[in-house]
Protein backbone atom coordinates (compact mmCIF):
# COMPACT_ATOMS: atom_id res chain seq x y z
CA UNK A 1 0.00 0.00 0.00
CA UNK A 2 1.35 3.44 -0.83
CA UNK A 3 1.55 6.26 1.66
CA UNK A 4 -1.85 7.61 0.69
CA UNK A 5 -3.40 4.15 1.01
CA UNK A 6 -3.82 3.63 -2.73
CA UNK A 7 -2.29 0.89 -4.81
CA UNK A 8 0.32 1.98 -7.34
CA UNK A 9 -0.24 3.83 -10.55
CA UNK A 10 0.19 1.25 -13.30
CA UNK A 11 2.51 2.77 -15.90
CA UNK A 12 1.00 2.18 -19.33
CA UNK A 13 4.00 1.66 -21.59
CA UNK A 14 1.81 0.81 -24.54
CA UNK A 15 -0.01 4.16 -24.37
CA UNK A 16 3.21 6.09 -23.77
CA UNK A 17 4.88 4.36 -26.73
CA UNK A 18 1.90 5.16 -28.96
CA UNK A 19 2.13 8.83 -27.97
CA UNK A 20 5.88 8.84 -28.60
CA UNK A 21 5.41 7.26 -32.03
CA UNK A 22 2.86 9.97 -32.78
CA UNK A 23 5.29 12.75 -31.84
CA UNK A 24 8.01 11.07 -33.91
CA UNK A 25 5.61 10.89 -36.88
CA UNK A 26 4.87 14.62 -36.56
CA UNK A 27 8.56 15.37 -36.51
CA UNK A 28 9.27 13.18 -39.52
CA UNK A 29 6.55 15.02 -41.48
CA UNK A 30 8.17 18.34 -40.55
CA UNK A 31 11.62 17.08 -41.59
CA UNK A 32 10.24 16.09 -44.98
CA UNK A 33 8.45 19.38 -45.45
CA UNK A 34 11.24 21.69 -44.23
CA UNK A 35 14.33 19.75 -45.29
CA UNK A 36 13.21 17.12 -47.80
CA UNK A 37 14.68 14.52 -45.47
CA UNK A 38 13.11 11.12 -44.85
CA UNK A 39 14.85 9.14 -42.10
CA UNK A 40 15.64 5.57 -43.12
CA UNK A 41 16.11 2.48 -40.95
CA UNK A 42 17.77 -0.64 -42.30
CA UNK A 43 17.13 -3.93 -40.52
CA UNK A 44 19.24 -6.96 -41.34
CA UNK A 45 18.08 -10.47 -40.45
CA UNK A 46 20.32 -13.47 -40.93
CA UNK A 47 18.52 -16.81 -41.04
CA UNK A 48 14.87 -17.51 -40.33
CA UNK A 49 14.36 -17.74 -36.59
CA UNK A 50 10.56 -17.36 -36.26
CA UNK A 51 10.71 -14.99 -33.25
CA UNK A 52 13.27 -12.78 -35.00
CA UNK A 53 11.11 -12.71 -38.13
CA UNK A 54 8.19 -11.41 -36.06
CA UNK A 55 10.36 -8.72 -34.46
CA UNK A 56 11.73 -7.60 -37.81
CA UNK A 57 8.26 -7.48 -39.37
CA UNK A 58 6.91 -5.42 -36.46
CA UNK A 59 9.82 -3.01 -36.68
CA UNK A 60 9.22 -2.57 -40.40
CA UNK A 61 5.52 -1.82 -39.89
CA UNK A 62 6.22 0.70 -37.09
CA UNK A 63 8.93 2.38 -39.15
CA UNK A 64 6.60 2.94 -42.10
CA UNK A 65 3.78 4.08 -39.80
CA UNK A 66 5.83 7.08 -38.64
CA UNK A 67 6.67 7.97 -42.23
CA UNK A 68 10.23 6.71 -42.32
CA UNK A 69 11.79 4.53 -44.98
CA UNK A 70 12.17 0.91 -43.94
CA UNK A 71 14.81 -1.23 -45.62
CA UNK A 72 14.74 -4.93 -44.83
CA UNK A 73 17.48 -7.37 -45.73
CA UNK A 74 17.03 -11.09 -45.21
CA UNK A 75 20.21 -13.06 -45.61
CA UNK A 76 20.40 -16.86 -45.61
CA UNK A 77 21.35 -18.68 -42.38
CA UNK A 78 24.69 -19.77 -43.86
CA UNK A 79 25.81 -16.19 -44.65
CA UNK A 80 29.51 -15.80 -43.90
CA UNK A 81 30.75 -13.24 -41.40
CA UNK A 82 32.59 -11.40 -44.19
CA UNK A 83 29.42 -11.16 -46.28
CA UNK A 84 27.42 -9.76 -43.37
CA UNK A 85 30.15 -7.25 -42.53
CA UNK A 86 30.24 -6.23 -46.21
CA UNK A 87 26.48 -5.62 -46.09
CA UNK A 88 26.92 -3.51 -42.94
CA UNK A 89 29.68 -1.47 -44.60
CA UNK A 90 27.47 -0.92 -47.64
CA UNK A 91 24.71 0.40 -45.34
CA UNK A 92 27.24 2.57 -43.46
CA UNK A 93 28.03 4.24 -46.79
CA UNK A 94 24.41 4.58 -47.98
CA UNK A 95 23.19 8.16 -47.36
CA UNK A 96 19.51 7.13 -47.41
CA UNK A 97 20.13 4.85 -44.42
CA UNK A 98 20.38 6.71 -41.11
CA UNK A 99 19.99 3.79 -38.75
CA UNK A 100 21.22 0.20 -38.97
CA UNK A 101 19.99 -2.66 -36.84
CA UNK A 102 21.26 -6.20 -37.18
CA UNK A 103 18.79 -8.53 -35.50
CA UNK A 104 20.51 -10.64 -32.85
CA UNK A 105 21.27 -13.45 -32.25
CA UNK A 106 23.24 -14.08 -35.45
CA UNK A 107 24.24 -17.64 -36.47
CA UNK A 108 27.29 -19.17 -34.81
CA UNK A 109 29.71 -18.58 -37.70
CA UNK A 110 29.35 -14.81 -37.17
CA UNK A 111 30.88 -12.86 -34.28
CA UNK A 112 28.22 -10.59 -32.77
CA UNK A 113 30.92 -8.25 -31.39
CA UNK A 114 32.47 -7.87 -34.86
CA UNK A 115 29.09 -6.95 -36.30
CA UNK A 116 28.59 -4.34 -33.55
CA UNK A 117 32.09 -2.93 -34.07
CA UNK A 118 31.51 -2.61 -37.83
CA UNK A 119 28.29 -0.59 -37.67
CA UNK A 120 29.06 3.14 -37.92
CA UNK A 121 28.58 4.54 -34.38
CA UNK A 122 26.50 7.36 -35.89
CA UNK A 123 24.05 4.82 -37.42
CA UNK A 124 24.12 2.45 -34.44
CA UNK A 125 20.48 3.03 -33.42
CA UNK A 126 20.64 0.04 -31.08
CA UNK A 127 23.32 1.90 -29.08
CA UNK A 128 25.53 -1.18 -28.86
CA UNK A 129 28.81 0.11 -30.29
CA UNK A 130 31.55 0.67 -27.68
CA UNK A 131 31.85 4.24 -28.96
CA UNK A 132 28.23 4.86 -27.99
CA UNK A 133 28.77 3.17 -24.61
CA UNK A 134 31.77 5.46 -24.20
CA UNK A 135 29.89 8.57 -25.27
CA UNK A 136 27.18 7.74 -22.75
CA UNK A 137 29.77 7.06 -20.03
CA UNK A 138 31.54 10.33 -20.89
CA UNK A 139 28.39 12.43 -21.00
CA UNK A 140 28.75 13.09 -24.75
CA UNK A 141 25.96 12.95 -27.32
CA UNK A 142 25.61 9.45 -28.65
CA UNK A 143 22.92 6.90 -29.34
CA UNK A 144 21.53 5.18 -26.26
CA UNK A 145 20.22 1.62 -26.47
CA UNK A 146 16.47 1.44 -26.76
CA UNK A 147 15.36 -0.39 -23.62
CA UNK A 148 17.34 1.84 -21.19
CA UNK A 149 16.05 4.92 -22.99
CA UNK A 150 12.50 3.58 -22.70
CA UNK A 151 12.97 2.99 -18.97
CA UNK A 152 14.13 6.57 -18.45
CA UNK A 153 11.21 8.00 -20.43
CA UNK A 154 8.69 6.07 -18.33
CA UNK A 155 10.37 7.15 -15.09
CA UNK A 156 10.38 10.80 -16.17
CA UNK A 157 6.75 10.56 -17.18
CA UNK A 158 5.96 9.72 -13.55
CA UNK A 159 8.41 12.23 -12.05
CA UNK A 160 9.94 14.89 -14.27
CA UNK A 161 12.74 15.90 -11.88
CA UNK A 162 14.48 12.92 -10.31
CA UNK A 163 17.63 14.76 -9.18
CA UNK A 164 18.86 13.57 -5.79
CA UNK A 165 16.65 10.48 -5.74
CA UNK A 166 18.13 7.14 -4.77
CA UNK A 167 18.04 4.89 -7.80
CA UNK A 168 18.90 1.22 -7.57
CA UNK A 169 19.47 -0.81 -10.71
CA UNK A 170 19.47 -4.57 -10.24
CA UNK A 171 21.46 -6.14 -13.07
CA UNK A 172 24.58 -4.94 -14.84
CA UNK A 173 24.26 -6.07 -18.43
CA UNK A 174 25.80 -3.92 -21.17
CA UNK A 175 22.43 -3.83 -22.86
CA UNK A 176 20.27 -2.64 -19.95
CA UNK A 177 21.68 -2.37 -16.42
CA UNK A 178 24.81 -0.35 -17.10
CA UNK A 179 23.29 2.17 -19.56
CA UNK A 180 20.22 2.67 -17.32
CA UNK A 181 22.61 3.48 -14.47
CA UNK A 182 24.45 6.01 -16.66
CA UNK A 183 21.19 7.67 -17.71
CA UNK A 184 19.99 7.95 -14.11
CA UNK A 185 23.36 9.37 -13.08
CA UNK A 186 23.06 11.98 -15.82
CA UNK A 187 19.68 12.91 -14.29
CA UNK A 188 21.51 13.51 -11.00
CA UNK A 189 20.22 10.47 -9.16
CA UNK A 190 22.41 8.75 -6.58
CA UNK A 191 22.83 5.46 -8.40
CA UNK A 192 23.54 2.03 -6.97
CA UNK A 193 24.23 -0.91 -9.27
CA UNK A 194 23.34 -4.18 -7.57
CA UNK A 195 23.60 -7.71 -8.95
CA UNK A 196 23.79 -11.40 -8.15
CA UNK A 197 26.85 -10.86 -5.94
CA UNK A 198 25.24 -8.09 -3.86
CA UNK A 199 25.27 -9.04 -0.18
CA UNK A 200 21.77 -7.97 0.98
CA UNK A 201 19.85 -7.36 -2.19
CA UNK A 202 16.47 -6.96 -0.43
CA UNK A 203 17.84 -4.19 1.80
CA UNK A 204 19.60 -2.42 -1.07
CA UNK A 205 16.44 -2.56 -3.19
CA UNK A 206 14.33 -1.24 -0.32
CA UNK A 207 16.44 1.94 -0.20
CA UNK A 208 15.39 2.88 -3.73
CA UNK A 209 13.12 5.75 -4.67
CA UNK A 210 13.50 4.41 -8.20
CA UNK A 211 13.99 0.67 -8.62
CA UNK A 212 14.90 -0.83 -11.97
CA UNK A 213 14.91 -4.63 -12.18
CA UNK A 214 16.81 -6.08 -15.13
CA UNK A 215 18.05 -9.49 -14.12
CA UNK A 216 15.93 -11.97 -16.04
CA UNK A 217 14.70 -13.95 -13.04
CA UNK A 218 10.94 -14.37 -12.69
CA UNK A 219 9.41 -12.50 -9.74
CA UNK A 220 12.75 -12.19 -7.97
CA UNK A 221 11.91 -8.76 -6.52
CA UNK A 222 9.40 -9.30 -3.70
CA UNK A 223 6.85 -6.86 -2.37
CA UNK A 224 8.87 -6.15 0.76
CA UNK A 225 11.90 -5.21 -1.36
CA UNK A 226 9.99 -2.15 -2.51
CA UNK A 227 10.08 1.15 -0.61
CA UNK A 228 6.57 2.57 -0.14
CA UNK A 229 5.85 5.03 -2.92
CA UNK A 230 8.82 4.00 -5.08
CA UNK A 231 8.80 4.00 -8.88
CA UNK A 232 9.36 0.40 -10.01
CA UNK A 233 10.49 -0.36 -13.56
CA UNK A 234 10.43 -4.01 -14.50
CA UNK A 235 12.58 -4.87 -17.52
CA UNK A 236 12.23 -8.63 -17.07
CA UNK A 237 10.48 -10.79 -19.65
CA UNK A 238 10.36 -14.31 -18.28
CA UNK A 239 8.19 -17.15 -19.55
CA UNK A 240 6.84 -19.35 -16.80
CA UNK A 241 4.47 -22.35 -16.94
CA UNK A 242 0.79 -21.38 -16.76
CA UNK A 243 -1.13 -24.64 -16.17
CA UNK A 244 -4.23 -22.55 -15.42
CA UNK A 245 -4.28 -21.66 -19.12
CA UNK A 246 -4.09 -25.31 -20.12
CA UNK A 247 -1.44 -28.00 -20.26
CA UNK A 248 1.92 -26.84 -21.60
CA UNK A 249 0.83 -23.19 -21.70
CA UNK A 250 3.10 -20.40 -20.49
CA UNK A 251 2.76 -16.77 -19.57
CA UNK A 252 5.08 -13.78 -19.43
CA UNK A 253 6.12 -12.34 -16.08
CA UNK A 254 8.67 -9.73 -15.07
CA UNK A 255 11.51 -9.72 -12.57
CA UNK A 256 9.17 -8.18 -10.01
CA UNK A 257 6.35 -9.88 -8.10
CA UNK A 258 3.86 -7.46 -9.60
CA UNK A 259 0.82 -8.34 -7.47
CA UNK A 260 2.72 -7.80 -4.23
CA UNK A 261 4.80 -4.82 -5.39
CA UNK A 262 1.86 -2.82 -6.72
CA UNK A 263 0.44 -2.68 -3.18
CA UNK A 264 3.60 -0.86 -2.02
CA UNK A 265 4.98 1.07 -4.99
CA UNK A 266 3.89 4.53 -6.06
CA UNK A 267 4.06 3.59 -9.73
CA UNK A 268 4.99 0.35 -11.46
CA UNK A 269 5.31 -1.04 -14.95
CA UNK A 270 3.39 -4.23 -15.73
CA UNK A 271 4.75 -7.13 -17.79
CA UNK A 272 3.67 -7.26 -20.54
CA UNK A 273 2.64 -3.71 -21.43
CA UNK A 274 5.31 -1.75 -19.55
CA UNK A 275 8.85 -1.40 -20.82
CA UNK A 276 8.38 -3.85 -23.71
CA UNK A 277 6.36 -1.62 -26.04
CA UNK A 278 8.89 1.20 -25.56
CA UNK A 279 11.68 -0.61 -27.36
CA UNK A 280 10.49 -0.16 -30.94
CA UNK A 281 9.33 3.41 -30.26
CA UNK A 282 12.81 4.23 -28.93
CA UNK A 283 14.37 2.61 -31.99
CA UNK A 284 12.38 5.04 -34.15
CA UNK A 285 13.37 7.86 -31.78
CA UNK A 286 17.03 6.99 -32.26
CA UNK A 287 16.64 6.76 -36.04
CA UNK A 288 15.10 10.23 -36.07
CA UNK A 289 17.92 11.64 -33.91
CA UNK A 290 20.55 9.90 -36.07
CA UNK A 291 19.00 11.25 -39.28
CA UNK A 292 18.96 14.81 -37.94
CA UNK A 293 22.59 14.61 -36.78
CA UNK A 294 23.77 13.12 -40.07
CA UNK A 295 22.01 15.91 -41.94
CA UNK A 296 23.38 18.60 -39.62
CA UNK A 297 19.86 19.54 -38.49
CA UNK A 298 19.17 20.23 -34.80
CA UNK A 299 17.81 16.99 -33.31
CA UNK A 300 14.54 17.22 -31.36
CA UNK A 301 15.00 17.04 -27.60
CA UNK A 302 12.71 15.63 -24.95
CA UNK A 303 10.41 13.90 -27.44
Amino acid sequence: MTEDGMTARIIDGKAYAAGLRGRIGDHVARLQKDHGLTPGLAVVLVGNDPASEVYVRNKGIATKEVGMNSFEFKLPADTSEEDLLAKVRELNADPSVHGILVQFPVPDQISQQKVIDTISPDKDVDGLHPVNAGRLASGLDGLVSCTPLGCLMLIKDVMADIAGKNAVVIGRSNLVGKPVAQLLLKENCTVTIAHSRTADLAKVAASADILVAAVGRAKMVKGDWVKPGAIVIDVGMNRIPAPEKGEGKTRLVGDVDFEAAKEVAGAITPVPGGVGPMTIACLLHNTLIAACRQAGIAAPEGL
Copy 2:
Protein backbone atom coordinates in the same frame (compact mmCIF):
# COMPACT_ATOMS: atom_id res chain seq x y z
CA MET B 1 38.99 3.46 15.98
CA THR B 2 38.71 0.20 14.04
CA GLU B 3 36.98 -2.87 15.39
CA ASP B 4 40.16 -4.27 16.87
CA GLY B 5 40.91 -0.98 18.59
CA MET B 6 43.74 0.00 16.25
CA THR B 7 43.98 3.03 14.02
CA ALA B 8 43.90 2.38 10.31
CA ARG B 9 46.62 0.85 8.21
CA ILE B 10 48.11 3.77 6.26
CA ILE B 11 48.30 2.67 2.63
CA ASP B 12 51.73 3.58 1.29
CA GLY B 13 51.13 4.50 -2.34
CA LYS B 14 54.72 5.57 -2.81
CA ALA B 15 56.04 2.14 -1.81
CA TYR B 16 53.39 0.32 -3.84
CA ALA B 17 54.17 2.43 -6.91
CA ALA B 18 57.90 1.75 -6.51
CA GLY B 19 57.21 -1.98 -6.38
CA LEU B 20 54.96 -1.75 -9.44
CA ARG B 21 57.60 0.17 -11.38
CA GLY B 22 60.09 -2.56 -10.44
CA ARG B 23 57.78 -5.30 -11.77
CA ILE B 24 57.21 -3.27 -14.95
CA GLY B 25 60.98 -2.87 -15.37
CA ASP B 26 61.46 -6.65 -15.06
CA HIS B 27 58.80 -7.22 -17.68
CA VAL B 28 60.29 -4.67 -20.05
CA ALA B 29 63.68 -6.41 -19.74
CA ARG B 30 62.03 -9.73 -20.60
CA LEU B 31 60.20 -8.20 -23.60
CA GLN B 32 63.50 -6.89 -24.94
CA LYS B 33 65.26 -10.21 -24.41
CA ASP B 34 62.51 -12.49 -25.74
CA HIS B 35 60.93 -10.29 -28.42
CA GLY B 36 63.37 -7.47 -29.13
CA LEU B 37 60.58 -5.07 -28.19
CA THR B 38 61.13 -1.83 -26.27
CA PRO B 39 57.88 -0.09 -25.29
CA GLY B 40 57.88 3.59 -26.17
CA LEU B 41 55.90 6.44 -24.59
CA ALA B 42 55.49 9.77 -26.36
CA VAL B 43 54.57 12.80 -24.25
CA VAL B 44 53.49 16.01 -25.96
CA LEU B 45 53.54 19.32 -24.12
CA VAL B 46 52.14 22.47 -25.68
CA GLY B 47 53.35 25.72 -24.12
CA ASN B 48 55.46 26.12 -21.00
CA ASP B 49 53.21 25.91 -17.97
CA PRO B 50 55.72 25.33 -15.14
CA ALA B 51 53.64 22.65 -13.37
CA SER B 52 53.11 20.77 -16.66
CA GLU B 53 56.83 20.95 -17.39
CA VAL B 54 57.57 19.29 -14.04
CA TYR B 55 55.00 16.53 -14.71
CA VAL B 56 56.40 15.87 -18.16
CA ARG B 57 59.96 15.77 -16.89
CA ASN B 58 59.02 13.31 -14.12
CA LYS B 59 57.19 11.11 -16.57
CA GLY B 60 60.23 11.06 -18.86
CA ILE B 61 62.57 10.08 -16.00
CA ALA B 62 60.24 7.31 -14.78
CA THR B 63 59.80 5.98 -18.34
CA LYS B 64 63.53 5.64 -18.88
CA GLU B 65 64.02 4.12 -15.40
CA VAL B 66 61.88 1.11 -16.34
CA GLY B 67 63.83 0.70 -19.57
CA MET B 68 61.23 2.12 -21.97
CA ASN B 69 61.88 4.66 -24.70
CA SER B 70 60.71 8.15 -23.81
CA PHE B 71 59.88 10.57 -26.60
CA GLU B 72 59.23 14.16 -25.56
CA PHE B 73 57.76 16.80 -27.84
CA LYS B 74 57.56 20.42 -26.71
CA LEU B 75 55.47 22.57 -28.98
CA PRO B 76 55.16 26.37 -28.68
CA ALA B 77 52.16 27.85 -26.83
CA ASP B 78 50.74 29.22 -30.08
CA THR B 79 50.65 25.82 -31.81
CA SER B 80 47.49 25.53 -33.90
CA GLU B 81 44.97 22.78 -33.28
CA GLU B 82 45.67 21.34 -36.73
CA ASP B 83 49.41 21.19 -36.05
CA LEU B 84 48.89 19.40 -32.75
CA LEU B 85 46.44 16.93 -34.34
CA ALA B 86 48.97 16.34 -37.14
CA LYS B 87 51.62 15.54 -34.52
CA VAL B 88 49.23 13.11 -32.81
CA ARG B 89 48.48 11.39 -36.14
CA GLU B 90 52.19 11.09 -36.83
CA LEU B 91 52.65 9.40 -33.44
CA ASN B 92 49.63 7.16 -34.10
CA ALA B 93 51.43 5.91 -37.21
CA ASP B 94 54.86 5.54 -35.58
CA PRO B 95 55.49 1.85 -34.70
CA SER B 96 58.11 2.72 -32.07
CA VAL B 97 55.51 4.69 -30.11
CA HIS B 98 53.09 2.46 -28.14
CA GLY B 99 51.60 5.07 -25.86
CA ILE B 100 50.72 8.72 -26.46
CA LEU B 101 50.02 11.27 -23.76
CA VAL B 102 49.19 14.88 -24.49
CA GLN B 103 49.70 16.88 -21.31
CA PHE B 104 46.52 18.76 -20.38
CA PRO B 105 45.45 21.50 -20.17
CA VAL B 106 46.20 22.59 -23.75
CA PRO B 107 46.04 26.29 -24.76
CA ASP B 108 42.60 27.76 -25.52
CA GLN B 109 42.92 27.60 -29.31
CA ILE B 110 42.97 23.79 -29.11
CA SER B 111 39.96 21.60 -28.33
CA GLN B 112 40.91 19.06 -25.67
CA GLN B 113 38.14 16.72 -26.83
CA LYS B 114 39.42 16.79 -30.43
CA VAL B 115 42.88 15.88 -29.21
CA ILE B 116 41.46 12.98 -27.20
CA ASP B 117 39.37 11.80 -30.16
CA THR B 118 42.41 11.86 -32.47
CA ILE B 119 44.70 9.69 -30.35
CA SER B 120 44.48 6.07 -31.47
CA PRO B 121 42.45 4.24 -28.79
CA ASP B 122 45.11 1.52 -28.75
CA LYS B 123 47.81 4.08 -27.84
CA ASP B 124 45.60 6.11 -25.49
CA VAL B 125 47.55 5.26 -22.32
CA ASP B 126 45.68 7.97 -20.42
CA GLY B 127 42.44 6.03 -21.08
CA LEU B 128 40.56 9.17 -22.09
CA HIS B 129 39.25 8.21 -25.54
CA PRO B 130 35.49 7.48 -25.64
CA VAL B 131 36.31 4.09 -27.16
CA ASN B 132 38.27 3.21 -24.04
CA ALA B 133 35.48 4.51 -21.80
CA GLY B 134 33.14 2.33 -23.86
CA ARG B 135 35.36 -0.72 -23.68
CA LEU B 136 35.53 -0.29 -19.90
CA ALA B 137 31.75 0.19 -19.69
CA SER B 138 31.22 -2.87 -21.89
CA GLY B 139 33.66 -5.09 -20.03
CA LEU B 140 36.01 -5.30 -23.03
CA ASP B 141 39.82 -5.01 -22.90
CA GLY B 142 40.82 -1.38 -23.22
CA LEU B 143 43.13 1.08 -21.55
CA VAL B 144 41.92 2.38 -18.18
CA SER B 145 42.85 5.87 -17.04
CA CYS B 146 45.73 5.89 -14.63
CA THR B 147 44.28 7.30 -11.41
CA PRO B 148 41.28 4.92 -11.31
CA LEU B 149 43.58 2.00 -12.05
CA GLY B 150 45.88 3.13 -9.24
CA CYS B 151 42.91 3.32 -6.83
CA LEU B 152 41.89 -0.24 -7.68
CA MET B 153 45.43 -1.57 -7.25
CA LEU B 154 45.69 -0.01 -3.77
CA ILE B 155 42.29 -1.39 -2.76
CA LYS B 156 43.20 -4.88 -3.96
CA ASP B 157 46.50 -4.70 -2.15
CA VAL B 158 44.52 -4.33 1.10
CA MET B 159 41.83 -6.87 0.19
CA ALA B 160 42.39 -9.18 -2.77
CA ASP B 161 38.76 -10.33 -3.12
CA ILE B 162 36.28 -7.47 -2.86
CA ALA B 163 33.31 -9.27 -4.45
CA GLY B 164 30.01 -8.43 -2.76
CA LYS B 165 31.46 -5.47 -0.84
CA ASN B 166 29.56 -2.18 -0.77
CA ALA B 167 31.62 0.39 -2.61
CA VAL B 168 30.67 4.05 -2.62
CA VAL B 169 32.34 6.45 -5.02
CA ILE B 170 31.84 10.13 -4.24
CA GLY B 171 32.31 12.10 -7.45
CA ARG B 172 31.33 11.25 -11.00
CA SER B 173 34.00 12.76 -13.23
CA ASN B 174 34.88 11.03 -16.48
CA LEU B 175 38.48 10.99 -15.36
CA VAL B 176 38.08 9.36 -11.95
CA GLY B 177 34.64 8.75 -10.43
CA LYS B 178 32.95 6.96 -13.32
CA PRO B 179 35.86 4.70 -14.30
CA VAL B 180 36.54 3.80 -10.66
CA ALA B 181 32.89 2.77 -10.37
CA GLN B 182 33.19 0.61 -13.49
CA LEU B 183 36.34 -1.07 -12.17
CA LEU B 184 34.72 -1.82 -8.81
CA LEU B 185 31.64 -3.20 -10.58
CA LYS B 186 33.89 -5.49 -12.61
CA GLU B 187 35.30 -6.74 -9.29
CA ASN B 188 31.72 -7.65 -8.29
CA CYS B 189 31.23 -4.89 -5.73
CA THR B 190 27.80 -3.38 -5.22
CA VAL B 191 28.61 0.11 -6.42
CA THR B 192 26.95 3.39 -5.49
CA ILE B 193 27.90 6.60 -7.27
CA ALA B 194 27.22 9.61 -5.06
CA HIS B 195 27.83 13.27 -5.82
CA SER B 196 26.96 16.85 -4.97
CA ARG B 197 23.24 16.21 -5.56
CA THR B 198 23.10 13.16 -3.30
CA ALA B 199 20.50 13.66 -0.56
CA ASP B 200 22.26 12.32 2.54
CA LEU B 201 25.88 11.96 1.54
CA ALA B 202 27.11 11.21 5.08
CA LYS B 203 24.71 8.28 5.40
CA VAL B 204 25.49 6.93 1.94
CA ALA B 205 29.24 7.16 2.62
CA ALA B 206 28.83 5.42 5.98
CA SER B 207 27.36 2.36 4.23
CA ALA B 208 30.61 1.78 2.34
CA ASP B 209 33.02 -1.06 2.93
CA ILE B 210 35.13 0.68 0.30
CA LEU B 211 34.90 4.47 0.10
CA VAL B 212 36.51 6.39 -2.75
CA ALA B 213 36.47 10.19 -2.48
CA ALA B 214 37.08 12.05 -5.73
CA VAL B 215 35.34 15.40 -5.47
CA GLY B 216 38.10 17.97 -5.08
CA ARG B 217 36.81 19.52 -1.85
CA ALA B 218 39.25 19.72 1.05
CA LYS B 219 38.39 17.45 4.00
CA MET B 220 34.77 17.09 2.92
CA VAL B 221 34.51 13.49 4.12
CA LYS B 222 34.35 13.58 7.92
CA GLY B 223 35.37 10.88 10.35
CA ASP B 224 31.78 9.92 11.10
CA TRP B 225 31.11 9.37 7.39
CA VAL B 226 33.43 6.37 7.53
CA LYS B 227 32.21 2.89 8.44
CA PRO B 228 34.46 1.26 11.04
CA GLY B 229 37.01 -0.90 9.27
CA ALA B 230 36.33 0.52 5.79
CA ILE B 231 38.97 0.95 3.12
CA VAL B 232 39.20 4.69 2.35
CA ILE B 233 40.81 5.88 -0.89
CA ASP B 234 41.33 9.63 -1.08
CA VAL B 235 41.84 10.92 -4.63
CA GLY B 236 41.60 14.59 -3.64
CA MET B 237 44.55 16.95 -4.05
CA ASN B 238 43.52 20.28 -2.55
CA ARG B 239 45.85 23.14 -1.64
CA ILE B 240 44.82 24.94 1.52
CA PRO B 241 46.49 27.83 3.38
CA ALA B 242 49.05 26.67 5.93
CA PRO B 243 49.88 29.75 8.02
CA GLU B 244 51.67 27.47 10.50
CA LYS B 245 54.35 26.98 7.80
CA GLY B 246 54.73 30.74 7.34
CA GLU B 247 52.79 33.54 5.73
CA GLY B 248 51.35 32.70 2.32
CA LYS B 249 52.35 29.03 2.62
CA THR B 250 50.00 26.24 1.59
CA ARG B 251 49.79 22.49 2.07
CA LEU B 252 48.17 19.63 0.23
CA VAL B 253 45.15 17.87 1.74
CA GLY B 254 42.74 15.28 0.40
CA ASP B 255 38.96 15.12 0.20
CA VAL B 256 38.94 13.19 3.48
CA ASP B 257 39.56 14.53 6.98
CA PHE B 258 42.51 12.17 7.36
CA GLU B 259 43.17 12.66 11.07
CA ALA B 260 39.57 11.84 12.00
CA ALA B 261 39.03 9.11 9.39
CA LYS B 262 42.16 7.13 10.27
CA GLU B 263 40.72 6.52 13.74
CA VAL B 264 37.74 4.75 12.16
CA ALA B 265 38.89 3.24 8.87
CA GLY B 266 40.55 -0.13 8.45
CA ALA B 267 42.94 1.23 5.83
CA ILE B 268 43.33 4.70 4.35
CA THR B 269 45.47 6.48 1.79
CA PRO B 270 47.24 9.64 2.96
CA VAL B 271 47.56 12.82 0.88
CA PRO B 272 50.23 13.21 -0.30
CA GLY B 273 51.75 9.75 -0.67
CA GLY B 274 48.61 7.72 -1.38
CA VAL B 275 46.95 7.68 -4.79
CA GLY B 276 49.20 10.42 -6.23
CA PRO B 277 52.37 8.37 -6.73
CA MET B 278 50.34 5.64 -8.48
CA THR B 279 49.52 7.77 -11.50
CA ILE B 280 52.88 7.68 -13.27
CA ALA B 281 53.39 4.00 -12.38
CA CYS B 282 50.00 3.20 -13.95
CA LEU B 283 50.93 5.21 -17.03
CA LEU B 284 53.96 2.95 -17.46
CA HIS B 285 51.73 -0.06 -16.78
CA ASN B 286 49.40 1.03 -19.57
CA THR B 287 52.30 1.67 -21.95
CA LEU B 288 53.57 -1.84 -21.30
CA ILE B 289 50.10 -3.35 -21.88
CA ALA B 290 49.62 -1.27 -25.05
CA ALA B 291 53.02 -2.30 -26.41
CA CYS B 292 52.28 -6.00 -25.84
CA ARG B 293 48.86 -5.76 -27.50
CA GLN B 294 50.22 -3.85 -30.50
CA ALA B 295 52.93 -6.49 -30.91
CA GLY B 296 50.44 -9.34 -30.50
CA ILE B 297 52.23 -10.60 -27.38
CA ALA B 298 50.21 -11.73 -24.33
CA ALA B 299 50.00 -8.72 -21.99
CA PRO B 300 50.99 -9.34 -18.35
CA GLU B 301 48.05 -9.54 -15.98
CA GLY B 302 47.81 -8.56 -12.34
CA LEU B 303 51.11 -6.68 -12.32
